[in-house]
């Protein structure tokens, strides 16, 4: 060994939660998901802590000290106060944390020295055993270790003796690893109901940090984030953030979340926040990150705009073949490469740059259509189309000018009542 290999975040430090097993388990699972970005070998210590096997990750994260700091800061950022110890054996690290020590120990001799001073309470002794040691005047692991082996076996039983040996690095300590779920689904119960948006953002951000950790662990991104804000006695409020391209960029997701939260109605105090997200492989996005950085940024603007203005607020424009003016275009996904593609139907000689969303009826004065003055117009263009569906078009179109010089696109119905309409502007 001689290498730090294990790390435990002591659960007693999770002060944010009432000591309720269900909640602690939720919190630990969340942390485990988040910690997956540092190592795939994670063990849940039920209701108590997390064990990370980090010997394989040290080089990647710049050494034991750097990794220790990243973990400590990360846990703090998530809003937990944990005890963090890093040591060459998993049980050694666990016991250090359980005894309230936050230590980074690089080698076995240092760990052995530290363990010698730990109280016996880390051993989970039965009351009778505890009494027996007390009578002998033994209070630390060190004193315990100095007892003869046979006597120790009698007093502790083989299981606890094995634990001691594992802590001191004398016996192997295989663990079962945490299996991350295929979909992110975390719920954060708030210590007290919250109606203030900032406090809500803070809570939601914790879930987001867990999500980005989980995404990093899977080399994945997400394209859809579903939030649920639970209330005391009403239906939960739900909102969804959709991304154009899968991402796990923490700063971008946080920005989107805050933008979205600004417009999210919060009619009552929120008791819990839930975040669900799917994982999506990021391999291609990663590649394009280096090839076309401006492409990445593209979608971020769209996502930001949608987060505040709504999912349907941002479009691209595309041509649609056909004669009917109001159907010669459509809104499409931004950047749709096919926007320009396909035959534009007939060659449109003169079309206005602006089309009115709804044609505006024009008043008639002295038998002439009127818009800020009587309109002058030349030869017409007949458009008869759409007889096969419910929106047939039977119109004569004209390019018209009013006395101010404005250039308009107007039409007259071919059939009765032969009304005049303004349909666009050439400007």
């Amino acid at each position: 060994m001689g290498q730090p290999a294990a790390l435990a975040a002591g659960g007693t430090g999770i002060s944010y939660y009432a000591r309720e097993t269900r909640l602690e388990h939720q919190a630990l699972t969340g942390l485990a998901d988040w910690a997956g970005q540092f190592t795939p070998a994670i063990t849940l210590l039920p209701g108590d802590g997390l064990l990370l096997e980090v010997s394989g990750s040290l080089r990647l994260f710049g050494g034991a000290r750097a990794l220790y700091r990243r973990l400590r800061d990360g846990i703090h950022e998530l809003g937990y106060t944990g005890l963090l110890s890093m040591a060459p054996t998993p049980r050694g690290a666990t016991w250090l944390a359980r005894a309230g020590r936050s230590l980074l120990l690089h080698d076995q001799p240092a760990l052995t020295r530290a363990l010698m001073e730990l109280p016996l309470s880390v051993l989970d002794l039965k009351a009778a055993q505890h009494k027996a040691f007390h009578r002998l005047g033994i209070t630390t692991l060190g004193e315990c270790q100095r007892l003869p082996r046979e006597g120790l076996t009698q007093r502790l039983g083989t299981e606890l003796l094995t634990h001691l040996d594992q802590a001191f690095g004398l016996k192997a300590d295989p663990r079962e690893y945490f299996v991350p779920s295929p979909r992110f689904d975390h719920r954060l119960e708030l210590p007290s109901p919250v109606s203030n948006r900032e406090a809500l953002a803070f809570a939601a951000n914790r879930l987001l940090a867990e999500l980005t950790g989980a995404l990093a662990a899977r080399r994945a991104g997400t394209r859809q984030l579903q939030f649920e804000l639970e209330h005391e006695d009403r239906e939960p409020g739900r909102f969804c953030m959709n991304l154009v391209r899968a991402s796990r960029e923490a700063a971008h997701l946080r920005h989107l979340l805050y933008t979205r939260l600004e417009t999210q109605p919060v009619p009552a105090a929120v008791t819990a926040v839930r975040l669900r997200a799917d994982f999506e492989t990021l391999a291609e996005v990663h590649a394009s990150l280096f090839e076309a950085p401006e492409e990445m940024a593209d979608t971020r603007l769209i996502e930001r705009l949608r987060a505040r203005l709504g999912e349907t607020a941002v479009h691209g424009l595309a041509l649609v073949p056909g004669h009917r003016p109001e159907r010669a275009f459509r809104y499409c996904a931004p950047g749709d490469a096919s926007a320009q593609a396909g035959p534009a139907g007939p060659v449109m000689t003169r079309r206005p740059v602006w089309l009115l969303a709804a044609a505006r009826p024009l008043p008639i004065r002295n038998d002439t259509p009127y818009f800020d003055g009587p309109l002058r117009y030349g030869a017409g263009e007949r458009i008869e189309s759409g007889w096969w569906d419910d929106n047939p078009v039977l119109r004569d179109y004209f390019v018209a000018r009013n006395p101010r010089g404005a250039c308009l696109w107007i039409y007259r119905e071919i059939v009765q009542p032969r009304r005049w309409f303004l349909h666009g502007f050439f400007a």
């Binding site: 401006e294 593209d298 607020a313 691209g316 424009l317 010089g405 400007a427």
Partner: protein, 232 residues
């Protein structure tokens, strides 16, 4: 150093002439308007990007959009950046835009319902660095908002085109270029109210029929500009 070298210096300005086109390291690049004579009057020889351009009109259908369309068309074909339309008053009509040479796949149409959202969206688009141009119909007339937009355009190296009512012509504005546009017989009449490094000009006529007949991908900008007189 001879006189010519001296005169060629960027920081020496001769009366009656615009400063020479800015160099690459300048935050403001320029974009040919597609109208030769207008380019000659614009600072840097074209629409200045990384700043705001204000187009002031009275009423609709007067040609303000077509004034900037040739430059937009060329930009859409040379840059992989968005051309964002924030809260346009009507539907930007795809067939006409495509016919003018605009690559529709670069178009981003943003609908913002409330006024505050509208100004926010304009600023986001300008600042993002991913919009070559932002065409905007701002809700606010607040000078502070306009200054924010100007800063955002500088940050994002974007060309911000604000379409506003002629009513605001008397208001001070941080825009690098302010133009007044009115319709005339064959196109529009343009009057530069303000330009960086130059004085205001009298009205001049731009001929659209000519300019729009040439696809924007053509190398030479087309179109005639005839100061002081109307065509035809």
């Amino acid at each position: 150093m001879n006189t010519q070298q001296l005169l060629d210096r960027a920081d020496i300005w001769r009366g009656g002439r615009l400063p020479p086109a800015k160099r690459e390291d300048s935050p403001h690049h320029s974009l040919s308007s597609g109208f030769d004579a207008l380019d000659a009057l614009l600072p840097g020889g074209g629409w200045p990007t990384g700043t705001l351009t204000e187009v002031l009109t009275e009423g609709e259908g007067v040609g303000a959009l077509r004034l900037v369309l040739p430059a937009l068309a060329r930009m859409s074909q040379s840059q992989k950046k968005w051309i964002a339309w924030v809260s346009p008053p009507h539907v930007p009509y795809a067939p006409a835009l495509a016919a003018a040479g605009l690559d529709l796949s670069r178009v981003l149409v943003v609908h913002a319902d409330r006024n505050a959202n509208r100004d926010w969206a304009i600023e986001q688009a300008l600042r993002s660095g991913t919009c070559g141009a932002v065409l905007a119909w701002p809700a606010s007339t607040d000078a502070r908002v306009l200054r924010r937009l100007q800063l955002a355009a500088e940050t994002g190296h974007s060309w911000g085109v604000l379409f506003r009512s002629l009513r605001h012509a008397a208001q001070p504005s941080p825009a690098a270029v302010r133009l007044q546009v009115e319709p005339d017989l064959s196109g529009i009449s343009v009057q530069i109210l303000k330009r960086r490094g130059g004085w205001a000009t009298g009205p001049m006529s731009l001929d659209f029929e000519h300019a729009l007949a040439v696809p924007a991908s053509a190398t030479t900008p087309a179109g005639g500009l005839h100061p002081g007189r109307y065509q035809q």
